[in-house]
Symmetry: C2
């Protein structure tokens, strides 16, 4: 039986099952711990102080953020070890400096001479020592310098000459989201570690301590088998998982801790359509499962206990309408979903769906209680 | 030259050009006025009190909303004539009733006996007369009853027998977003009007006054050539337009009043990639132009004056990264977009992009001033 409040709270709303959330955290943390490294969780998925409490045991536990808005909010909540893992835009340095002046150990990321020069110039002008990571490209996914790039020691020189510190290197195996087999993920994890270790050794040969080697993406974090020499592992979506991660093979459907609760508001009997009050405003426009082995449309429909209906998908979304299409020869007809009844939708991409909600409704571990977690918004 | 604040405000941010915004409003309002009807603007695109001031001249000017959160916020701002144009879920009636008790003339929408029964029962129990619209299906797009459905007079009977009022009928030519020619849009507009007039005449034959016939979608609203007998026209995205509407043929690129300002944060020279700090968090995951005549990726890149670069698109988005891919044989190379420089991105779908931003930065009509409009969030 679902908790009373899940059947009465106004819809649509985002539901997090805390028992699954905590189990997912324990799974990754214990794995990385056993391999001798530590998790620097990426807080961008839920962007929530309340959610982060279960990830960060101490005020100086390492954390990753995707915006300065997050950094400022987590700093205000007392967290002091924050890696801003998006390439720094020079105009953002005053906000970084403001956090440093409050005692926050914020690390910035760069991969170009122009950025290094800007950091050096701002640091000199304001007598500030920034903590800098250089991004290393391990798979051609996005940014970063190849491990054998001559620019690596050049950037290190600019940073350290200006008085700032080259704290470490960062690699992100973003291509691992496209993996189809466990072997492929394991290979991506090994390549991610190999690339950053190669780059780290080169810098140390050049005389830079560069103490921190930071890797991670949710798939590689769960399949890496050797973290020797790797200082920390970043991962974000692992706390809730989603249908994309289920397709990649990192979790099972029953591990997904996030769903959207919606109410049936109408039918088109001829077409076998059930309308719900969760459109793309509640589910997001993310179609991350479209190119994967199993395309879940805009989400997989479950009953209020979170048990999936086989092959029942949200196939279309408008702003505030979702359409569930009953498949031909389905075991269901529209009257199985009367107006006023409720369903839960597992999302394609937890980060994107969570981003549509100003707050999250959390089912306590006892399966009844109701907590409210707030989302940090803006940039 | 762009206004100073556009070159210095932290990025990413959503920019609205007020001169275009007002011109788009004037275009539709004068057209509908000349055809003898009135616009009931759909406020879901920007969901902003400040934005609505230019659409609603009086406190009782007709308006459309997509959520009760909007209805409550616009009511608190003094607006009293609000059509909640999503099929009513029975559990939402207490919030509707609360608005009615404050003197708000809120209209609800339904198309099923179960909804009509719920409205009748709640109305009787609480001695409330709801103002009800029945949804009419004009093109098989989503919900509503066919104009010849016997359920139409059945629902009218349930509503009026319970003491509530059948205020009118609503049709939405949602399929017009898929039109490819002006002739096709005109045909959709005529079909939308014909369907609702047929349904209205049938109800009047059955003795129901059903005074209001409400039609509309942005394409049909701009191409309808005969609004005789049509009480009001709804449209939403027309205030800002977007790339989807440009492709449908309703506006030109230079009419688009909404864009996202982003900063260049890196390059991949080998691949011709320019990284910006606007990912799908700022642009949305909407790929509405993908099936259209011209696919704009995640948006069309412009300079800070809003002038588009030919064929320059945001081709990929991650959460806080956008990737602009320079086409082969492009007139540009990555050094034309140095780290720290800024671009503007025209979005596929204004409703989806606006939904990612808690506030909008508005360029005043003088081309210099800066206004801030707040977005209403949640449900």
């Amino acid at each position: 039986m679902p908790a009373d409040w899940i059947t009465t709270l106004d819809t649509p709303f985002l539901l997090i099952e805390k028992s699954k959330y905590l189990r997912n955290i324990e799974r990754l943390y214990s794995r990385v711990d056993a391999l001798g490294s530590v998790v620097r969780p990426h807080l961008k998925t839920l962007r929530s102080i309340e959610a982060a409490r279960y990830l960060l045991k101490q005020s100086d536990s390492p954390a990753t953020v995707s915006t300065l808005a997050e950094a400022e909010s987590f700093a205000a909540a007392g967290y002091t070890n924050l890696l801003y893992a998006v390439g720094i835009a020079p105009h953002k340095l005053p906000r970084v400096a403001a956090l440093m002046s409050k005692g926050v150990n914020i690390h910035i990321l760069l991969d170009s001479e122009r950025q290094a020069d800007a950091v050096a110039a701002f640091g000199k002008e304001h007598r500030l020592k920034f903590s800098v990571f250089i991004e290393v490209d391990c798979d051609g996914h996005r940014g970063g310098l190849p491990p054998d790039s001559d620019a690596l020691p050049d950037l290190a020189r600019i940073i350290e000459k200006s008085g700032s510190t080259l704290t470490g290197l960062l690699a992100h195996a973003g291509e691992s989201y496209n993996c189809r087999t466990e072997d492929a993920i394991l290979a991506a994890a090994r390549a991610e570690c190999a690339a950053i270790k190669t780059a780290g050794e080169r810098l140390r040969t050049h005389g830079y301590a560069c103490p921190v080697l930071s890797v991670g993406a949710t798939p590689t974090a769960h399949f890496a088998d050797d973290l020797n020499g790797i200082s920390e592992v970043r991962a974000g979506v692992f706390t809730t998982f989603d249908l994309v991660m289920k397709n990649v093979g990192v979790c099972r459907l029953e591990d997904i801790a996030i769903s959207v609760v919606a109410t049936v508001i109408g039918h088109n009997r001829e077409k076998g359509w059930v309308f719900i009050d969760a459109g793309w405003m509640a589910l997001s426009r993310d179609r991350g499962t479209a190119p994967q082995s199993e395309d879940y449309g805009y989400g997989l429909v479950c009953n209020l206990n979170g048990e999936p209906y086989e092959n029942l998908l949200v196939t279309t979304t408008n702003q505030e309408h979702g359409i569930i299409t009953l498949p031909p020869q389905s075991a269901f007809e529209v009257d199985n979903f009367p107006v006023g009844s409720r369903v839960r939708i597992l999302p394609n991409h937890a980060c994107a769906t969570a981003a549509m909600h100003p707050q999250y409704h959390v089912l306590s571990e006892d399966g009844q209680g109701h907590e409210l977690w707030q989302r940090i918004v803006g940039w």
